[in-house]
Symmetry: C2
Subunit: 426 residues, 2 copies
Amino acid sequence: MKAYAALSNEELITLKRELESEYTEFKNRNLTLDMSRGKPSTDQLDLSKGMLESLKSDDYISEDGTDCRNYGILDGIKEAKQMFSQMLDVSTKEIIIGGNSSLNLMYDIIARAMIFGVLDSEKPWGKYDKIKFLAPSPGYDRHFAICEHFGIEMITIELNDDGPDMDRIEELVRTDETIKGIWCVPKYSNPDGITYSDEVVHRFANLRPAAKDFRIFWDNAYCVHDLTDNPDKLLNLLDECKKNGNDNMPLMFASTAKISFAGSGIAMVAASEDNINFIKKQMSIQTIGSDKINQLRHVRFFGDFNGILEHMKKHRSIIAPKFDVVIGMLDNEIAPLGIASYRKPNGGYFISLNTMDGCAKRVASLCKDAGVTLTPAGVTFPYSSDTRDRNIRIAPTYPPVSELKVAMELLCLCIKLASVEKLLGQ
Amino acid sequence: MKAYAALSNEELITLKRELESEYTEFKNRNLTLDMSRGKPSTDQLDLSKGMLESLKSDDYISEDGTDCRNYGILDGIKEAKQMFSQMLDVSTKEIIIGGNSSLNLMYDIIARAMIFGVLDSEKPWGKYDKIKFLAPSPGYDRHFAICEHFGIEMITIELNDDGPDMDRIEELVRTDETIKGIWCVPKYSNPDGITYSDEVVHRFANLRPAAKDFRIFWDNAYCVHDLTDNPDKLLNLLDECKKNGNDNMPLMFASTAKISFAGSGIAMVAASEDNINFIKKQMSIQTIGSDKINQLRHVRFFGDFNGILEHMKKHRSIIAPKFDVVIGMLDNEIAPLGIASYRKPNGGYFISLNTMDGCAKRVASLCKDAGVTLTPAGVTFPYSSDTRDRNIRIAPTYPPVSELKVAMELLCLCIKLASVEKLLGQ
């Protein structure tokens, strides 16, 4: 195979005709495949089947004697706090167990920040003419949607191999008091699969923001979602922040959405004890507490944190082969042509691919017309604005391997076709 | 027994000595009983024990083929919408099934109203110098706490036997554009057990508020919580509002907190289709959806709405006797003395008692010192300000009958003692 850049115009025209004919064949197959979201597959959900029966009808009393069926306990039952504080490597005083959605926890914290401010705020965030968040990108579209919703201006920050561009972050937060937060998916980032290096975490912990109420939204969604024998290691941001007197800066989130059941898991937020107490005080007006029975169900099913780690190995055995399919096909079909770049992540839920500039939307649209839905091109950037129009998020977990192979064949074909069109100046 | 008002000073002094000696005996028993909150008893929770096992490990697919374990479906699974739309007597397009807490739904709607406004708002509620809510009182302390939290000024409205003082409500909302809402517990009100009459509901539906975005927060928490063979009937507010072109005025809430499990139930909001679509659009930024497995669990356990009604009969058989204990003791011990008034409710969770003016705090404090915790006196009014200091909320459901009897003996004694003190001008 020859890199496309080395092809003559004539060769490109011939190639285009061949690719178009292949594409027409695909279209005639009337596929309907979905690679748009990071959803666990049925096989993965089946791993937690037993959780539906993990509580017998006489099993509802928690360790400290609480009847989990009744009202009470705002921040979660003791044994759930124990299990998940280990997952996030914090103390049981530094965690709140919430409902089924970590997105909901993040949204609520920002909503309350807009109306009331966070712990160290001089005034509510909503009282500023404009506040800003930093958005390392490509990133998670739902984070960006929260900012858009609340009218929080986002500043795109480049994501390097070891994490976000810290020079730029340090410079921006140092002088601008209206920069109130940053979105991070620090381990196996969505979509790039990057894990922040120790140096990056150290620099985060050392930030000296002009805003005393600057917060790092540390969405550790993939904290135990390893796919290799040598998983990435992420430093504990809260620990590092404490060493620098920045105890209240990080708000760390996780959930079991991609451990147990995506729709019926448990979400949690971890932070300094002062932050946690502040959040609990605010939360006490909103709710009497989250579903304790579901917390107990998780505790019974997993036993302890080690049980979660064992469980994650089963997930790995299902989804690692899917990542291998994607990477394998990209390695064979795309890499030699020099028309796209991508990383092989050691965990998480996505593979992020960069086409030649100006081709991502075209690729997504070609795929869609042939029956394969990708995440809409661009959404991995604030305001869906991928200025180079090149990022495509591949979510390989949901489809079965057989479907994934077909979808990837089409994707590779569409990347080629869009690249040829681009090279021909069309 | 003689009414206290008819006693001479000397008789009162003798009586006081007797009551004090009885009270000392109580104190020596070192009781620790709790009648502070409307919590279901263990017996009641046991009625839903089967729900912990109502889903087998292969039972997770909803009627329309949705795998309830996975992401998706913002507003609840079809069969849950069907069941609970019947409970609230609305169409399945007029309901959202939420998480485990209706308080959370109310809080979130008000939080979003502060930041963005509701459907018909000209501007966010938070952009006014001050907005106000009407608060029929005595009422539910957690409603009032939400208003205090958001800095929404509350105007206390008197609650009559057939509902709130509608003359005053009509007059207030007609002219004041900053009155944005009203809290109602329209059936078996907390704490009085009053059900709004048809005329009151008609007048609500006919309101012509100056604020186009005025909302009735209709917390139908006790919609199926009857305690007699002739339960109260409440008109459907949404239906009545539609007849008057006020389709978007009501927001109706309910939950299974006092049907299935208090901490692990399902909450819901019902409203006009336009309202529901507006709320769903806002919610889509906050969460991917509530716990669908718990919705399916409820559907499997109850079968259909009729199953809920049958289940409520079992609750009734447990708690009606407790209400009888309270009413019986008040009838025997208090009524003849002319020192307090109360109603016998046909449902709900509370009995509300009015002492002589200026005695409620004293009664609660006497009870507390002898080991019985009541709801803190005053909290049934906005800003905990019971200007006449007379309302006491009795929550009879949680303690077993034996404990309830002891607690009521003490309560009756404390009412007598506080009344005598009052009559003696102490």
